[in-house]
Symmetry: C2
Subunit: 262 residues, 2 copies
C-alpha cells in the first residue's frame, strides 16, 4: 500500500526573517495525514522569482500534490502568481470570474477596487480557481500545484474547499503506548518491534514531569491490523521487563518531547 | 554589503505527520537575523537516510552555515548522525569526550547508561562537540553543518553556546510604519519606495480589528541610513494622500497579518 505524496512550499521573506511564525505547515500536515496523503517535505523560501520557479517545477515533478502558501496579495512583493505561471510556461491572465468575485466583494464598501487590488484577479492561464470565502481573492490550482494565501485563516478556508476533491489514500493508523520507562531503556524493544513489523514505524517521545518520567511510543502504519499487533507486542515486551505500558486513547494530548531523561 | 547565508534542516517524521509542531525554525530564524546571518531556506524532511545525506550535501555546498535539528537521540529511528557522517564520507566514532560527559550525567541516577544511550556518544569522525547543558548528549559541528537536538529547549541551549563563534554580518535595520490605509491602497506607494531605494525591502502586513484597519509596512535593509530615508519617504507619501502614518517603535507587537481588508 502506498499513499499519494505531497510537498508544502511556504513563500515569504517574513517567515525566513523570523518576523512571522509559520502556522501553515503544521496545520496542513495534520490535514494531509488525515486524508491519507503522505507529506514528504516542507520548504520555506524567499520571495525570489527564480527560487519560486525552480522549486515549483521540482515539486510539481516529484510529488503528486503541491501546496503553496503566501505571495498572492495586492502588493509589489506578491510575486508568487507571476513566478508560478513562469514555472509552467503560461502567461498570467486577468481572470473574469476572479474579477467578478472581487468586484462584488468591494461593492458597497469604502474600499476602492484599484489597480493593486485588481492584481489579485491575475491568474496563470489554464488554472482553476480555489474559493476564498474569507476575503474573496481566490487561490488556484494549476496542474498538481495548489496556490493558496499565506494568512492562516484564509489558507485553512481554501484548503477545506479543495480537500474533498483530493485523491486521498489510506489514513494511517496511529497507536500511542505510554511506557513508564526512559527512552534509552526502551530503545532495544522499539528496534526489535520495528524490525519484526515491516511497514510499521515506531517513534518515541520521552516526557518528564516532577517526580515522573516516561516515553510515549507511537506506532504508525497504513495496515491497521499490523499496527495493532505491533503495539501489543511492544506493550508486552515492556511489561516483561517489569515496566508498565498502557495504550493512550487520546493521541492529541502528547505534547512535544521534554528534555530529560533520554 | 552581503551577509553570510544559512539554511535550516529539520529532520523528523513526526513533524511531517503533523503530530509535533516545529518550533525550531521560527526561533532560529530570529536568532540568525539578529546575528546578521541571512536565512535563505528552511526544509523539513523525513527520517530517511538517503534524503538526509543528499540534503546535507546540497546545503553544505550552497550555504555558509547549515543548522539541523532532530534525530540524534538514543533510539533506532535516530539516524541523523550516521547519515551526516555518510554525507561527508567519514566513519562514525565513539567519541571519548562525549562518552565522558554522558557517563558523568548518568552517574548517581537510577538510569542505566546502556547501549542505546551510549549511541548518543557516536559522532562523525573529525566533528567538534556542541555542548548540551540540558541533558549532556552533545550535538556537533562538521565542516559548516551544525547538528543539534530536536527538542526546542535543548536546541536553544546548544545554539546559545555556538552563537558567539559564528561569523555574523550586519544586523538588518527594520523599521515599521503603521499606516491607517488598506494594503491595496498603499501598494503603489510601496512599489515606488521599493523602486527608489535599492537594497531596502518593503513588506506589508494588513491588520483588521472591529471598526479599524490598517497596514504595517516593514522596511528592511542592511544600510541603516537608507532604511531610515525610505521609511521617511514612505510616511510622507502616505500622508500626502491624506492618511496617517506613524513609525512603530515596537516591531515585536505586530502579529501575523489579519485577513481583511486587502
Amino acid at each position: 500500500m502506498s499513499n499519494p505524496e505531497a510537498a508544502i512550499l511556504v513563500i515569504g521573506d517574513e517567515i525566513l526573517s523570523g518576523r512571522t511564525k509559520d502556522k501553515n505547515i503544521g496545520w496542513l500536515a495534520e490535514e494531509l495525514t488525515a486524508l491519507g496523503i503522505s507529506l514528504k517535505q516542507a520548504r520555506i523560501i524567499a520571495d525570489d522569482r527564480q527560487t519560486i520557479i525552480d522549486t515549483v517545477r521540482e515539486f510539481s515533478k516529484n510529488y503528486d500534490y503541491v501546496f503553496t502558501s503566501g505571495g498572492i496579495g495586492p502588493t509589489h512583493d506578491d510575486i508568487t502568481t507571476e513566478a508560478v505561471a513562469a514555472a509552467f510556461d503560461v502567461p498570467v491572465i486577468r481572470h473574469p470570474e476572479a474579477m467578478a468575485r472581487l468586484t462584488r466583494h468591494y461593492e458597497g464598501t469604502d474600499i476602492e477596487f484599484n489597480a493593486a487590488r485588481q492584481k489579485m484577479a491575475n491568474i496563470p492561464q489554464g488554472a482553476e480557481l480555489i474559493d476564498n470565502p474569507v476575503s474573496a481573492a481566490p487561490g488556484y490550482r494549476i496542474e498538481n500545484v495548489h496556490v493558496m494565501a499565506g494568512v492562516p485563516s484564509i489558507l485553512q478556508a481554501m484548503f477545506k474547499g479543495i480537500a474533498p476533491g483530493l485523491q486521498g489514500g489510506v489514513q494511517p493508523t496511529r497507536i500511542t503506548v505510554q511506557c513508564a520507562i526512559g527512552e534509552g531503556t526502551i530503545a532495544t524493544i522499539m528496534e526489535a518491534v520495528s524490525g519484526q513489523f515491516d511497514g510499521v514505524s515506531v517513534g518515541s517521545y520521552p516526557w518528564f514531569k516532577p517526580g515522573q518520567f516516561g516515553t510515549a511510543v507511537v506506532l504508525t502504519g497504513l495496515d491497521a491490523g499490523l499496527v495493532e499487533n505491533a503495539a501489543s507486542a511492544l506493550a508486552q515486551l515492556v511489561r516483561e521487563q517489569g515496566f508498565s505500558a498502557r495504550r493512550d486513547e487520546d493521541n492529541s494530548i502528547i505534547g512535544p518531547a521534554s528534555p530529560r531523561p533520554a
